[in-house]
């Protein structure tokens, strides 16, 4: 069944096919133009689990949704991941959340270590009682001079927890396996119910550095289900905040990349400049990460003419500084020597893994929700897609630089011509037994929220997908045959979200 970004359908209208057909359909379409944008389960009233797959046809701005039913008395189906790498993590998630076995899954292991949502015995009996690394059977490599390096969950820097297990031969990484789940806070079940006041706050904290991205996806979902349209000015302010968030994070990442190759001036300057953009968000929303801005029905803070002028004046200054410092970074031969050819992901691999966002674009994948699935403000303003060619650290850095400049251009164009009018309309009750999909291009890539309502019009199931979910495996692949000392640099060039993955 077809659906567009921000569209709503009745759950009963979505066709239910047999599990074999479901699998065959997904695999066949993903061998063609489609990619697997989401695959998740939900508990039906009759105790069976219904699986939904969302296939994205980027060229047609179309989403295809198919579903199947897995009977409670026979909780197994044939794995898609056998033939479709993109399904690998999704199927592990389903196995963990609903205790359903994807038969023949090539690497079936828990993802976040929690007990299932169906109230039946877990597939892994001690999943919720023991702490992660001890019980985790990592992929092993045997041979002379092969050794294993384990890093995390508590890292040397100020970053989130995750465990990285390297299989090395000398300095060379043969394989990296990434085990996350330490950040699992159980967000999805908490999002359900009728009272949306807490849900919107949770959406702002899925990943604090993507507060605007996730909260606007959530608000759009509620708006779609309640048939309410946020006023044009509110949609524009959301887009402004989204771009400020993007710029702040990209600038911070470029600084981090500078630091990781030991070029400290750019690290210090970009680090400070990132704060400038966060301070603009602070001036707009009262919070440096934009928490408290987006609410279903619109936004809570207006931009008046004076603020718009002030922002433009500052942004023009910041743009000069950005160009200056990024020129310093990108013309330094010793920096380029460390960026180029490191952590390469070919376009073919990126496509097979289903990568999104700047990391995907650095490998020539022309995917950007702002263009492909334009909604809200993006229907009226097209930001060019920033593509890299080489798929290495250099390309990922360059894509970020390009996106910062294009976002600045967008802001300087939009701020002086903000629409007039209200910034908020009160949304009505949500439609019962319906499903909506909303997508937002966060700074890491495609954010997708799927909301399914129950008979009373409250959320029965809320599925969140952070772009990192697609890209973590890309990082693991990028590290193959690289020097282990290049890991921090590669990791920074992806800068994926741990909490967005762990939920």
């Amino acid at each position: 069944m077809e659906l567009y970004n921000g569209g709503t359908v009745s759950v009963t209208d979505i066709p239910i096919v047999k599990p074999e057909e479901f699998r065959a359909d997904i695999v066949r379409r993903c061998r063609g133009d489609a990619r697997l944008a989401n695959l998740f389960g939900t508990l039906d009233a009759d105790g069976n689990v219904r699986l939904f797959a969302v296939l994205a046809l980027d060229a047609d701005a179309e989403l295809q949704i198919v579903s199947t039913k897995i009977l409670a008395e026979h909780p197994r189906y044939e794995s898609c991941a056998k033939d479709l790498l993109q399904a690998h993590l999704f199927e592990r998630e389903i196995a963990e959340q609903w205790a359903i076995v994807p038969e023949g899954h090539p690497w079936l292991k828990p993802l976040r270590y929690h007990s299932n949502y169906r109230g039946v015995p877990d597939l892994w009996p001690d999943i919720a009682t023991r702490t992660i690394p001890g019980m985790y059977p990592f992929y092993g490599v045997d041979g002379e001079e092969v050794h294993e390096v384990g890093v995390g969950p508590v890292h040397a820097g100020i970053i989130e927890p995750g465990h990285f297990r390297f299989q090395c031969h000398g300095e060379e990484i043969l394989h990296l396996e990434i085990q996350l789940g330490y950040q699992h806070r159980g967000i999805e079940p908490l999002m359900c119910g009728k009272d949306l006041r807490r849900s919107v706050l949770l959406s702002e904290s899925v990943a604090g550095d993507t507060s605007i991205g996730h909260s606007s996806a959530f608000c759009e979902a509620v708006e779609s289900l309640s048939g309410c349209m946020a006023p044009p000015k509110a949609q524009t302010i959301r887009a402004v905040a989204l771009e400020l968030e993007r710029i702040a994070n990209h600038v911070g990442d470029l600084g981090g990349l500078g630091t990781d190759v030991g070029f400290l001036p750019t690290g210090a300057y970009f680090g400070r400049m990132r704060g400038d953009y966060l301070n603009l968000l602070l001036a707009l929303t009262g919070n440096r990460f934009g928490k408290g801005l987006c609410r279903p029905g619109g936004v809570l803070f207006d931009i008046d003419e004076r603020m718009a002028e002030d922002f433009c004046r500052k942004l023009r200054q910041y743009k000069k500084e950005f160009v200056d410092v990024s020129d310093l970074l990108f013309t330094k031969p010793s920096v380029l020597a460390r960026f180029e050819g490191v952590g390469m992901i070919s376009m073919k691999n990126a496509k097979n893994l289903g990568m999104v966002g700047p990391a995907g674009r650095a490998s020539q994948l022309e995917r950007d929700v702002r263009i492909d699935y334009a909604s809200g403000m993006w229907q009226f303003y097209h930001v060019p897609v920033s593509l890299g060619v080489t798929g290495d650290v250099y390309a990922r850095a360059l894509v970020r630089r390009q996106e910062v400049l294009r976002s600045l251009e967008f802001l300087l164009k939009v701020l002086p011509t903000l629409p007039r009018g209200d910034i908020f309309t009160q949304p009505g009750p949500m439609k019962a037994d319906s499903l909506t999909i909303t997508m937002v291009e966060g700074w890491r890539g495609e954010i997708m929220h799927v909301g399914i309502t129950d008979r009373q019009g409250g959320f029965a199931r809320y599925k969140i997908k952070d772009p990192s979910f697609h890209n973590w495996f890309g990082l693991a692949m990028a590290m193959r045959n690289q020097e282990i000392s290049d890991f921090p640099l590669c990791n920074k060039s992806f800068n994926l979200s741990y909490c967005g993955h762990d939920l």
Binding site: R112, Y113, H114, A128, T131, I132, V154, A156, G157, I158, I159, E160, P161, G181, Y182, Q183, H184, R185, G186, I187, L190, R198, L201, L202, S205, V206, A207, G208, D209, S211, G252, P265, A268, Y269, G271, R272, R274, G275, N279, L282, A283, L284, T285, G286, N287, R288, F289, K291, G292, R295, L300, F301, E321, D324, V325, D327, L328, S497, Y498, C499
Partner: protein, 223 residues
Amino acid sequence: MFKIIKTRFKQGYRTLPFPKGRPPVLPPRYRGRPLAGPGGSLDLGSLTFIPDDGLQYTGDYRMAVTRREDLMLKTDEKVLASALRKELLRIFGRALKLRHVSAGGCNACESDLNVLNTPVFDLSRFGIQYVASPRHADGIIVTGPVPRNMREPLLKTYEAVPQPKLVIAVGSCAISGGIFADSREVSRGLGTLVPVDLFIPGCPPHPLTILDGLLRLLGRIKK
């Protein structure tokens, strides 16, 4: 080389005089310390500082306290963090090394801890430094609601810090579980796991709130 010097020259000197000089001015929409309101009993430690919770927020960024009960606002009388005992100040007062543990944080608190290392705040000029290992540290600084999967790594890190040691909780999640407090996956605040010496509320706290708290603990800000 010439380019580096030129850019350095253009960047100028950016470090805030804080805590000296005029108090920093935050934008009017900034939500700092809320007013307790008539007969109210407000827990700063579980507050998310959102605009639509009906509270009246002030622009005061100073909120860190040394005792959990001081976060319960009954009146508008302000209680702020006090300095460490004399023996501890002698040890930590001039050089404090902290190991950060992110335990379920959404990366907002983490980011604003990192910001203190930028030239604007320049944390190291106060002798405070984040270090790479708990064995090198005088204490831990914790963000996030401590999910079940992070409990053991957190406790192990805590144990690895030599005595005497400090524990600092940053953000409402770390103090009380924050908006995740109802989840079966998280703890009900760091204080239920280890003794806490400094509570810095906020969602996330402004970098100045964190810095102010740290400096008060070290007796560098007294008023």
